[in-house]
C-alpha cells in the first residue's frame, strides 16, 4: 500500500477552497479534464448556484511526487460558512494536516482564524496557502503579515499559489507529502474507526464515511457501533475518488466509505466509533459534540401544499441532512406545520430552498427565533423555541437567552460603525485589539436573538463587505425579556409574536407594525395592526381598504390578458395566509428581519 496523507482544506468563505480542490483533483487525474466542472466536490445544485460548500466531500487521489514516490492522498473538503463549522471540525478529526487557504486580496478573515484555531486544536499540521496571487488586487505582503501577526504562523511556511491558474499547485502537493505526517495507528490493534460523515443514498441506503484509526476493516465483517450498541455487517466498503471505488479492506490510517444495511441516518451517528463485534476495542474514540440547532422557525404549508407533503419531504430531507431538527407545531392562525431548528440562518434558507425546489412545496416561513430557557415559578425548566409557547408571565420566574461569542475582524476604518451596531444589538465588549496597524479584532458577547435578525447583512453593509464574523454558542444568560404580541384586526397571531429585551420593546413594536403595514397589501377591508405588551397596546397602524383593482378595459383583444390578470391575482394569494379575513403575505411574517 502506498503511503497515505490525510488532509483538509480550510478557509474563510470565498477564499478559493473549492477551486483549489478542483485543481488538485484535476492535476492528480482523479477527475478527467473533460469531466471537470467547477466545484467538483460540491454536488448539490444549491452549492453550485450559491458557490458555497454545504456538505463536506472527500476524494482519494493518487499522487506521484517529484522524486518518483507514489502516495495516496485523502482530500477532505470542508464548508466555509460559519453555519457549518461543525462539519469542519468533523473533517479535521479525520486528518493529520490542513491547507489554510487565504485570499491574497482579502487577507485573514474571521473564519480563517476560527478554522486555523480549530485545526491547531486538533493538533494538525497547517500549511498556509496564499491564494489568488494572480489577481491585480492581490496584496501578498499584507496577507503574509497578517498570517504572522494574526494567525501566528511563520510567513516562511506559506506557499504562494493561484488555484485558478494552477500556479504552484504542485508545490502545495509536495508540501502535503513533506510536511504532513503519515497517519499513525496500529493495523494489528482492535478496530477503531471514526464515523465522521454519513448520508442517505436513494439506492444504497445509509453510507457512512470513516477514518480507520486502528485495525483493519473487511467486507462481510460483523461490526458494532459503540455509542449506539448496534450491530451490523459490512456489505461494501471502499474509497471515493469522489466516485466510489469498491475495496476489500480499509486499514489503519485510511479514509473510506462503508455500507452496512443501516436503515436510518439517525443510527449512523456522527462521531461514533465502529469496532469489530468479536474483537471490540476497549474505549471508543472521543467523538464530537452533537451539532445543536441554534435558529428556529415555523414552516407551514402554503398554496396547494398539504401538511402531509411537508411531513414526507422533511422526513426525506432529514435523511440527507441530520443537522436540522423538526417537530410538529400547530398554530391558531396558520394551522398545522412544523417548528424546525437550524444551525444558522444560511442553513435555514438552504433547507427551505431545498424543500421548495427538490420537493416542489410552497411554504410559509415564520420569523426566526432562538431557544429560550424559561424557569417557571414551580421550578421547572422549559426550552422555548417559539415565542407562542411562552407560559403566562405570572408563571415565569426567569427567562434566559442564548449568548454567543462573536469574533469580528475588520479594517479599522469601519470600527465606529461596527461598534455602534454591536452596542445597538446589546453586545458586550470582551476585547478590542489592533492586530495590525489597520486591522482590528473584536470579541463580543452577543445575544443570539440579536444576531438572527439580519445582523450579518448589517455588519456587511456598515463595513462595505470588509468585516467578517465568526461565532460560537457561549452560554445562557437571564435577562428582562418580554413577549411582544401582534394583533391583526384585534386577533392575536401567535406566529408573529417575538421575544425582545424590555428596553427595546416599545421601539421594536412600533417599528414592527410599521414595517408590516408596508408588506401587507391593501385589502377589501380595513386592517388594524397592533403591537401589544402583556395585553397593552403600544403601537397601531391601519391599512386602508382598497377601493379599486380594475383599471383595464375589456374589448375584443383583451380577454387573454384579463384572464392572466385574474390568474396572477390568484397566484399572488398562494403564499399568503388568511387570518380572519386578512391575507398576510410571506413578507409580513418576516417583516421583523427588515427592522434596522
Amino acid at each position: 500500500m502506498n503511503p497515505i496523507r490525510n488532509f483538509s482544506i480550510i478557509a474563510h468563505v470565498d477564499h478559493g477552497k473549492s477551486t483549489l480542490a478542483d485543481r488538485i483533483l484535476e492535476m492528480t487525474g482523479a477527475v478527467a479534464s473533460r469531466d471537470m466542472r467547477a466545484q467538483t466536490l460540491d454536488t448539490m445544485e444549491l452549492e453550485r448556484e450559491r458557490g458555497i460548500t454545504i456538505k463536506a466531500q472527500t476524494a482519494r487521489l493518487a499522487y506521484k511526487s517529484k522524486d518518483g514516490r507514489e502516495f495516496a492522498l485523502n482530500l477532505i473538503d470542508t464548508p466555509g460558512h460559519v453555519d457549518f463549522s461543525y462539519e469542519v471540525s468533523r473533517s479535521l478529526a479525520a486528518c493529520e494536516g490542513a491547507l489554510l487557504v487565504i485570499d491574497a486580496s482579502q487577507g485573514v478573515e474571521a473564519q480563517t482564524l476560527a478554522n486555523a484555531y480549530l485545526a491547531l486544536h486538533h493538533d494538525l499540521v497547517l500549511i498556509p496557502v496564499i491564494n489568488k496571487i494572480d489577481l491585480v488586487s492581490a496584496d501578498v505582503e499584507a496577507a503574509l503579515d497578517q498570517l504572522e501577526h494574526i494567525v501566528g504562523l511563520s510567513r516562511n511556511e506559506a506557499l504562494l499559489a493561484s488555484a485558478k491558474t494552477g500556479e504552484n499547485v504542485t508545490d502545495i502537493l509536495e508540501a502535503v507529502i513533506a510536511r504532513i505526517p503519515p497517519p499513525k495507528g496500529e493495523p494489528g490493534a482492535p478496530l477503531k474507526a471514526l464515523l465522521f460523515d454519513s448520508w442517505y443514498d436513494n439506492y444504497r441506503g445509509v453510507v457512512v464515511l470513516v477514518r480507520v484509526v486502528d485495525g483493519v476493516l473487511k467486507t462481510g465483517e460483523a461490526i458494532t457501533f459503540m455509542g449506539l450498541q448496534a450491530d451490523y455487517e459490512v456489505e461494501e466498503l471502499g474509497y471515493l475518488t469522489p466516485k466510489p471505488v469498491k475495496m476489500e479492506t480499509l486499514s489503519a490510517g485510511e479514509v473510506g466509505y462503508v455500507i452496512a444495511g443501516i436503515k436510518t441516518l439517525s443510527h449512523a451517528r456522527i462521531g461514533d466509533t465502529i469496532t469489530h463485534r468479536n474483537r471490540p476495542a476497549e474505549i471508543a474514540l472521543p467523538g464530537f459534540e452533537e451539532a445543536k440547532p441554534m435558529v428556529f422557525c415555523g414552516l407551514f404549508p402554503a398554496g396547494d401544499t398539504r401538511i402531509e407533503d411537508l411531513r414526507d419531504s422533511l422526513e426525506k430531507l432529514r435523511l440527507n441532512d441530520a443537522s436540522f431538527f423538526y417537530e410538529p407545531e400547530s398554530s391558531v392562525a396558520l394551522g398545522q406545520g412544523y417548528r424546525c431548528g437550524f444551525l444558522g440562518l444560511l442553513h435555514r434558507e438552504i433547507v427551505q430552498e431545498r424543500l421548495e425546489r427538490e420537493f416542489g412545496l410552497t411554504l410559509l416561513t415564520t420569523a426566526p427565533s432562538v431557544n429560550y430557557r424559561v424557569t417557571t415559578r414551580a421550578g421547572e425548566t422549559l426550552d422555548i423555541r417559539t415565542p407562542s409557547q411562552l407560559p403566562d408571565p405570572q408563571n415565569i420566574a426567569s427567562i434566559a437567552e442564548p449568548m454567543i461569542d462573536a469574533m469580528i475582524l475588520t479594517p479599522d476604518r469601519y470600527i465606529g460603525a461596527i461598534l455602534a451596531l454591536l452596542e445597538g444589538r446589546r453586545g458586550e465588549q470582551k476585547k478590542l485589539e489592533y492586530i495590525s496597524p489597520k486591522r482590528v479584532l473584536l470579541q463580543y458577547l452577543l445575544p443570539l436573538n440579536e444576531v438572527v435578525f439580519d445582523f450579518f447583512n448589517q455588519l456587511k453593509s456598515v463595513s462595505q463587505g470588509y468585516a467578517s464574523l465568526d461565532y460560537e454558542l457561549a452560554s445562557y444568560r437571564e435577562g428582562p425579556l418580554v413577549k411582544l404580541d401582534i394583533l391583526i384586526n384585534r386577533e392575536q397571531v401567535d406566529e408573529l409574536s417575538v421575544i425582545v429585551h424590555k428596553d427595546k420593546a416599545y421601539a421594536f413594536g412600533r417599528a414592527l407594525v410599521e414595517r408590516m403595514r408596508k408588506s401587507i397589501p391593501r385589502q377589501q377591508y380595513e386592517v388594524a395592526l397592533q403591537a401589544a405588551l402583556g395585553g397593552r397596546i403600544i403601537a397601531r397602524e391601519t391599512i386602508k381598504a382598497y377601493r379599486k383593482d380594475v383599471l383595464a378595459k375589456l374589448y375584443g383583444g383583451d380577454y387573454t390578458r384579463k384572464m392572466k390578470v385574474l390568474e396572477k391575482q390568484k397566484a399572488g394569494k398562494k403564499r399568503m395566509r388568511t387570518v380572519g379575513k386578512v391575507d398576510i403575505p410571506q413578507e409580513a411574517f418576516l417583516a421583523i428581519l427588515e427592522i434596522k
Partner: protein, 386 residues
C-alpha cells in the same frame, strides 16, 4: 340554420400623432399627404373581409353570421374622408352579411370637423360617434399630451349634435396626474351641459414601455383620489340620466353601445385590420400589429399575434369574467344554455362566501356584482373562478 348576431370591428391604424399614454396600434401620418396609405388600408380591409367571408362559418349559402353592429376604431378613423367611410361600408356590405343597427365611428375632436363632414358621416350610415375627449380641463389635456382644448371638444360635440348625429359618446379618463377636484368639476360640468348619450370613464392605465410611464413615475396618482373622482362623476352622470351599465360605461337608456355589449356578453365578433381581434366559434385570434405584414397577408392569411382555441371551460370562465362587468350581470338560464352548466351550481361555495360579504348577488336567475363593488371586481372574480 340559426343565424347569430355578431359585431364587426374595423381598425384604422393611423393618427396625426401618437398620444403618450395610448397603447392602441397606430402609425402617425399626415392624411392630407397620405391619402394613398389610407387607400392601401381600405383595400386591405376589403381583401381581408373577402377572405374571411369565403372561409369557414361563412361558406353555407344562408350565412350563419350576421353583423348587426359596425365599429370603426383606431387610431383616428375620423381622419378618413367621409366618402371613404361611406365606400368602405358599402364595399364591406358587398362582402359580408352586414346590416348594422349601430355604426360607431371613433373621432378625435382635436382634428375638428365642419358640418359637411358630420353630414358626410351620417350619409355613410354612422349612427354613433365615440369622441375621445378624455378631459374638459385644458391643463389636464396638456399633461396628457393631447393637442385639443376643452373649447374645441365642446364645439365638436355641439356641431355633431346640431348636424343630427343620432348618438354621441364621450370618452373620459380618471386618475390623470395633475387632476384636481376643481379640474374634475370642469369635466363633470361639461358633461352636464353637453348632454352626451353615452360616457365611457376609464382609469388611466400605466402601460409599461409607453412614454407616459415616465410622467406617472414623476407624478404618481393617489389611488383613493382617483376613486373619489370616479365615484363623484358616476353620481353626477346618474343624476343626468346616464345609467351605469358596465364598470366604466354610462348611457341614456337605449343608447348603450351595442357593439361593445357584444364583448361583454361574449358574443361573436370579427375584427379587420392590423391588431384587430376576432372571436368566432371556439377560436379567437388577434391580427399582427404591423401594417405592412397585415396588408401583405390580408388576401391570404394575416399573421396572428395570438391565436387561442378555446376549450369549453376556458370559454365559460371568460364569459363569466366578461359578463360580470355588466350591471345587469349574467342570466344563468341562457348561460347554462350556452355553456352546459349553471355557475350557481358549479361555484356554489364561492358564491355563498362572496354573497355573505356582499360582493356578489344571486337573485332569481341572475348573478351579478353589486354596482358599488364593480371597481373591485378583479378580486371578486379571482375568488369566484378559483
Amino acid at each position: 340554420m340559426k343565424s347569430s348576431k355578431a359585431g364587426l370591428y374595423v381598425h384604422f391604424p393611423f393618427c396625426r400623432r401618437k398620444c403618450p399614454y395610448c397603447h392602441f396600434y397606430s402609425i402617425p401620418v399626415e392624411p392630407a399627404v397620405d391619402r394613398s396609405r389610407i387607400g392601401l388600408w381600405r383595400e386591405g380591409i376589403l381583401a381581408e373581409a373577402g377572405r374571411v367571408a369565403s372561409g369557414p362559418g361563412f361558406e353555407t349559402g344562408g350565412s350563419s353570421l350576421e353583423f348587426e353592429t359596425l365599429y370603426i376604431g383606431g387610431g383616428t378613423p375620423s381622419l378618413a374622408a367621409p366618402d371613404d367611410i361611406a365606400r368602405l361600408r358599402d364595399d364591406l356590405a358587398d362582402r359580408l352579411p352586414l346590416w348594422p343597427v349601430e355604426f360607431t365611428l371613433e373621432a378625435n375632436p382635436s382634428d375638428g370637423a365642419n358640418d359637411d363632414v358630420f353630414r358626410g358621416w351620417i350619409r355613410a350610415g354612422v349612427t354613433r360617434l365615440s369622441v375621445g375627449a378624455q378631459s374638459f380641463d385644458d391643463g389636464v389635456l396638456r399633461i396628457l399630451g393631447r393637442s385639443s382644448t376643452a373649447a374645441r371638444t365642446e364645439a365638436f360635440l355641439r356641431r355633431a349634435r346640431d348636424a343630427g348625429v343620432a348618438s354621441l359618446g364621450v370618452d373620459l379618463m380618471a386618475g390623470i396626474p395633475g387632476e384636481t377636484p376643481c379640474s374634475w368639476d370642469r369635466t363633470i360640468e361639461a358633461v352636464r351641459t353637453l348632454r352626451p348619450d353615452h360616457v365611457s370613464l376609464y382609469f388611466l392605465e400605466n402601460v409599461e414601455g409607453l412614454p407616459f410611464e415616465r410622467t406617472l413615475r414623476a407624478n404618481p396618482v393617489d389611488d383613493d383620489a382617483a376613486v373619489d373622482a370616479f365615484e363623484r362623476a358616476a353620481g353626477a352622470f346618474s343624476s343626468l340620466g346616464l345609467r351605469r351599465y358596465e364598470i366604466s360605461n354610462f348611457a341614456r337608456p337605449g343608447r348603450e353601445c351595442l357593439h361593445n355589449l357584444k364583448y361583454w356578453r361574449y358574443e361573436p365578433f370579427l375584427g379587420l385590420g392590423p391588431s384587430a381581434a376576432s372571436h368566432l366559434g371556439a377560436k379567437r385570434w388577434t391580427n399582427i400589429a404591423d401594417f405592412g405584414k397585415w396588408r401583405e397577408g390580408a388576401a391570404g392569411s394575416v399573421p396572428a399575434a395570438e391565436t387561442v382555441n378555446l376549450d369549453p371551460d376556458t370559454a365559460a370562465r371568460e364569459a363569466l369574467a366578461a359578463g360580470l362587468r355588466l350591471v345587469e350581470g349574467i342570466d344563468l338560464e341562457s348561460f347554462a344554455g350556452r355553456f352546459g352548466f349553471d355557475p350557481a351550481d358549479r361555484f356554489r361555495p364561492e358564491i355563498a362566501g362572496l354573497e355573505d360579504e356582499g360582493l356578489i348577488v344571486l337573485s332569481g336567475r341572475v348573478l351579478r356584482i353589486p354596482e358599488n363593488k364593480l371597481l373591485i371586481s378583479n378580486s371578486i372574480l379571482s375568488r369566484l373562478l378559483r
